[in-house]
């Protein structure tokens, strides 16, 4: 393969070892932090384990302007008798300020939807459903804050897969909190988990 030589890796290792001996790099136990292991990609800043059925979860002390980009992974359960939307509200803004587009494959039926909601569209959970979400939020102010979600669910009604886009029409306020809210009481059930990562610097 071009650019690689059989001795290149050995030279690199020797350079690093020299720096370690010189005290420039400290490989002592305990000096390896999650930030180093993330290879400059994502830092996990919150791990949420839902142990009791919950209607909303608020994640405080964020700084969207500094963090810029968030990765949100969520496993969700809705054992209630009602279907529920799961929305993200930035700074607890519950106004109709979140335009969205969705593309949903529901069994063999494909549908699209375009409207405005009172939260960024994060998941749709049929009664009894379990689902997985993978979302990216560009959180820096000065622009609309865009959210892209890949979502799949099963176990309730028909299995479904969705791609969703939302934005927050507010372009000025720094995002300091995200509220994960259900439109039905207790539809974020025990066993649900949410992992929040920020872009590491």
């Amino acid at each position: 393969m071009p650019g690689l030589s059989s001795t290149g890796g050995l030279q690199k290792h020797t350079e690093l070892k020299d720096k370690e001996i010189a005290g420039i790099i400290d490989h002592a136990v305990g000096s390896v932090t999650p930030a180093i292991l993330s290879f400059g990609s994502w830092d996990k800043i919150a791990e949420i384990n839902v142990t009791a059925d919950t209607t909303s979860i608020t994640i405080n002390n964020l700084d969207g302007d500094v963090d810029e980009l968030y990765l949100i992974i969520a496993f969700l359960r809705n054992p209630t008798g009602s279907n529920a939307r799961i929305l993200l509200r930035y700074n607890n803004d519950s106004g109709l300020n979140y335009p969205r587009e969705t593309l949903c494959a529901w069994e063999t039926t494909i549908t699209g939807k375009s409207d405005t909601l009172d939260g960024a569209y994060f998941a749709y959970m049929d009664t009894g459903a379990q689902g997985l979400n993978h979302a990216l939020l560009y959180a820096k102010s000065g622009y609309k804050r865009h959210l892209i979600v890949y979502h799949g669910r099963d176990g309730g009604g028909a299995p479904a897969a969705e791609i969703m886009w939302s934005n927050w029409t507010n372009t000025t306020d720094n995002i300091t909190s995200i509220v994960v809210v259900s439109t039905v009481a207790d539809a974020i059930a025990a066993g649900s988990r949410i992992f929040l990562f920020k872009l590491s610097k």
């Binding site: 996990k44 800043i45 919150a46 791990e47 949420i48 839902v50 009791a52 059925d53 919950t54 209607t55 909303s56 979860i57 608020t58 994640i59 405080n60 002390n61 964020l62 009602s82 279907n83 529920a84 939307r85 969705t102 949903c104 529901w106 069994e107 063999t108 039926t109 549908t111 939807k113 749709y124 049929d126 009664t127 009604g157 479904a160 969705e162 439109t183 039905v184 009481a185 929040l196």
Partner: protein, 103 residues
Amino acid sequence: MSVVKEYYRTDKDGKKRVQELQTGIIVEYLEEPSAEYLGKLEPEAEWQYILTSEVTVASDLPPTTIESKLFRFPRELTPIEEASLEKATGLTVKRKVRLANAS
């Protein structure tokens, strides 16, 4: 991820379990929503109708779906309206579902 501190607090939304994480993030779980909060959660109703046309190609195989369409209505259709929908589309109602909050 370590929880540094955990406690409960109550505000107008209801009773919340609060966790302070080692990263400085504070997470609040609304476990017992207040009546005021629940009053804002009025679900919107929607009915979804899936209509299909199917063909049976062999007796030992399940029917094969030729075409499938999804329709949404703000209320349940009457039998006459359902028949009208079937006639207009040339398909048959396979399933209808009431959704509290439609996707």
